[in-house]
Amino acid sequence: MFSRKFLFSVNPLLKIGVSLAIVAVALSLKTLDAIVVLVIVLLALLVTSIRIPLKSAIAVIIAFLLFIAFGTLTLSNWQLALFYALRLLALSLPAPVFALTTSPTDLVRALQAIKLPSFLVLSLMLVWRFLPVIQQESQRILEANQLRGVELSRQPHRWFSGLFVPLVFRIVSYADEVTIGLETRGYDPSLPRTISKPLTWQSRDTVFTIASWLIFGIVAHLEF
C-alpha cells in the first residue's frame, strides 16, 4: 500500500497529530479485536518504511513475550495480559515510526512553521547538531586517558577527574563558542527569519489523512 518513501514525505505536523491520535485511541480501547487491528497497521507501517535490524526485532519480541508471561502470572488471565501487551505496543510504536521517518531538519522547519517559540526550536536544533559532536569529544577524552596509561573501564575512581571534568570543560567552552558562532552568522531568536522551504499541504498528505480516518473507523467499529 505504501512505498518506502511515502511516510518520509508526509507533513511532519500531520504525522505528530496522527501519532497523538493513535495514543489517545489506544488508551480508550477495551476490546482485543480493535487493538489487534491497530497494532497490525502500525507494524505494517513500521516494516514497510524502515529497515529494522534483526537484533532489535528479536529483543522487542522477547520483551513482548516476557510482558505477557508476567501479566498472565499476576492477573491469571492470559487474554487480558495479551490485551495489555498489545496496548503497550500501540502506545510505544507511533513515536519511533514518526521519528525514524522524519529528518530533524524537516521537524525543525515544521516547528518553525507553527510559530513554536524560537528558543525551543533553537534548543532542539542545537541538541541534534552537537550531540554527536560531544559524543566524539568524549571518545577523544577516553582515548587520551588510555594514551596516558589510564584504562577508565577498570578504574572507576578516575571517572570524575579523567572523564567528567574534561568533558564538562569541553561542553562549557563549546556552549560559549557556539553562542558566538550563532551571533556571527546573524542569528537572533527575537528577529523574524526567512522560511526558505515553507511547509505545504500535498496530495499525499490528503491520502494519509483519509487512510488514517479509515483505520480509526475500522477500529471504532470493532470496539463498539
Binding site: Q146, S161, I180, L191, S196, K197
Partner: protein, 431 residues
C-alpha cells in the same frame, strides 16, 4: 573611503592591569587584504574579537578608542548588528555549523538576513558552484572532513556578501591544494571590492597576496616578524648505529593505500608529510594503538606491539591535535607530575599554580607536550605541531623536542609546514 577604521583601540581584560591591545590604529579599504600576525597571546584574536563585538560582550574587559564602518561608529552595536556588515570565520569551524546538510547550512545564514525566500535558492547555488560543492550539496555534515567543513563555513559566510570579512586562521586545516584554491578565491573577492582582514600563522602562503601586513607584539604593532630558528645541520649525528625503537612494515588500515615502511632509531626525528586526508593522523593512531592495523606489523623496542593501549603508552607518548582532550589536572604543575624543569623549558614556570584550562591555546599545547614527555616515553608522537602555534611558542616546543632526542628519545611529527622539518633536522617520510 575606508570600509573599516580602527582608532586608538585599547582593550584590557577584566582583572588584568596590562592592556591586551594598546592604541591600535588600522584602516582597511575595499579591495584590500590585510594580514595580521603575532605570537600567541600577542592580541591578534583579541583584536578580531573587538572588531566583531565579541569583546567586551562575551570576554569581559574595558574597551576604549573607536571603531567605524564607513566612517560611522559601530562601537555600540552588538554582534548581530555588526554581522550584517562583517563576516567572521571563527577558529573552530565546528561551532559555526548548525544544520545537518550542506545546502541547508548555506541557507541558514541567508535566512537570518531575512531575505525574500525566492532569492535564496539562487544564492545557494552560486555559493555551491563557487566552492565546487554542487555535487556534495545533499551530503550530511558528518560526512565532511575538517578541511571540507572549513571550506563550507567560508562558503556560507561569503554567500552573505558582507563588505568586510574577518578570518581567524582560515588555512589551518587546509592542504596545499585547498589552500591555493582559497587564496585565489580571497583574491577575487578582494578584487570585487570586499575588504578582508585575516590572522594566519602560515605566512609562506598568505604573504604573497596580502596588500598590508602587520605584526602584533604585546598588544602593539611591531615592524619585524620573528622567524622559526633552523638547526645547524653540521651538528647532526649519525643515528644508524643507534638501536631501533620502532619498526612498521606493510601497514594498512581502512581504505588507505598501504603506508610506507618506517624505521625509527633512538635519537631520530621523522616528519610525516602529505596532503589532507592522506592518513598522517591515522598512521600515528596505528602506532599508538588507538587503531588496529588491517595488515602489517608494528614492532616496538624489538618486540611486537602489545595489544592494550595502556601498555603501549608506557613506551609511546602522543600529543594530540587538540590539547583540550588531554588536560586532566587541577594545576599546571600537577599536569606535568611536578616536573618544574620541563615547565621552565616551555616558558610556563609563571603559570604553575594556574588551572590548565585557563591557559591560552598555545600554552595548553606546550603543556600537553610537557605532560607527555614528563611520563618519559621512548617515542613521542606529535600531530600537527604548528596548529595554533606562533614562531616563539613553536620554537620552545622544537627546543624541548631536540633535548628529548639528544637524550635518546625518538620523535614522529606531522605538519603541513615544510619549515618544521628543517628546524628539527628531521627525516621526511611522504605519505
Amino acid at each position: 573611503m575606508a570600509e573599516l577604521t580602527i582608532e586608538n583601540l585599547s582593550f584590557t581584560y577584566a582583572g588584568q592591569t596590562q592592556p591586551a591591545l594598546q592604541d591600535i590604529n588600522l584602516s582597511v579599504s575595499s579591495g584590500e587584504l590585510v594580514l595580521i600576525t603575532g605570537a600567541t597571546g600577542s592580541g591578534k584574536s583579541t583584536l578580531l574579537n573587538c572588531i566583531a563585538g565579541i569583546a567586551p560582550t562575551y570576554t569581559a574587559g574595558i574597551l576604549s578608542g573607536d571603531l567605524c564602518y564607513q566612517n560611522q561608529s559601530i562601537l555600540h552595536w552588538d554582534i548581530k548588528a555588526r554581522s550584517r556588515y562583517l563576516g567572521f570565520l571563527l577558529q573552530n569551524v565546528e561551532t559555526q555549523i548548525f544544520t545537518d546538510r550542506i545546502s541547508d547550512e548555506i541557507a541558514f545564514g541567508l535566512e537570518n538576513l531575512n531575505l525574500p525566500p525566492e532569492q535564496i535558492p539562487d544564492l545557494i547555488n552560486a555559493a555551491l558552484s563557487e566552492f565546487n560543492l554542487t555535487q556534495q550539496q545533499h551530503w550530511t555534515i558528518q560526512q565532511l572532513s575538517a578541511g571540507q567543513k572549513q571550506r563550507l563555513v567560508i562558503a556560507c559566510i561569503l554567500a552573505m556578501k558582507q563588505p568586510i570579512l574577518l578570518m581567524d586562521e582560515p588555512f589551518a586545516y587546509l592542504d596545499r591544494a585547498s589552500a591555493s584554491f582559497l587564496l585565489d578565491l580571497l583574491q577575487s573577492h578582494a578584487a570585487q571590492g570586499q575588504a578582508i582582514v585575516l590572522i594566519e600563522h602560515r605566512l609562506d602562503l598568505v604573504q604573497s597576496i596580502c596588500t598590508q601586513s602587520f605584526c602584533l607584539h604585546k598588544g602593539q604593532w611591531l615592524t619585524q616578524t620573528p622567524k622559526i630558528q633552523s638547526v645547524d645541520r653540521s651538528s647532526e649525528v649519525d643515528h644508524s648505529t643507534k638501536p631501533i625503537v620502532l619498526q612498521c612494515r606493510n601497514l594498512s588500515w581502512g581504505g588507505y593505500p598501504q603506508f610506507p615502511d618506517l624505521t625509527l632509531r633512538a635519537g631520530e626525528t621523522t616528519l610525516l608529510q602529505g596532503e589532507n586526508g592522506c592518513g598522517k593522523t591515522t598512521l600515528l593512531k596505528l602506532i599508538s594503538g588507538l587503531l588496529r592495523p588491517t595488515t602489517g606489523t608494528i614492532e616496538l623496542l624489538g618486540k611486537p606491539q602489545p595489544r592494550r593501549i595502556v601498555e603501549i603508552s608506557r613506551a609511546i607518548g602522543f600529543v594530540l591535535q587538540n590539547p583540550n582532550h588531554q588536560l586532566f589536572a587541577e594545576s599546571v604543575l600537577q599536569e606535568v607530575q611536578n616536573d618544574r624543569e620541563i615547565l621552565t623549558q616551555l616558558n610556563l614556570e609563571e603559570q604553575l599554580e594556574r588551572h590548565p584550562r585557563s591557559l591560552s591555546q598555545g600554552q595548553k599545547r606546550r603543556l600537553t607536550l610537557g605532560a607527555v614527555l614528563a611520563r618519559r616515553p621512548k617515542v613521542c608522537l606529535l600531530d600537527e605541531i604548528t596548529v595554533g602555534q606562533d614562531a616563539t611558542s613553536l620554537n620552545l616546543m622544537l627546543e624541548l623536542l631536540k633535548r628529548f632526542t639528544q637524550a635518546g628519545g625518538a620523535v614522529i611529527v606531522t605538519s603541513y609546514d615544510p619549515q618544521v622539518a628543517n628546524a628539527l633536522g628531521a627525516k621526511i617520510l611522504t605519505l
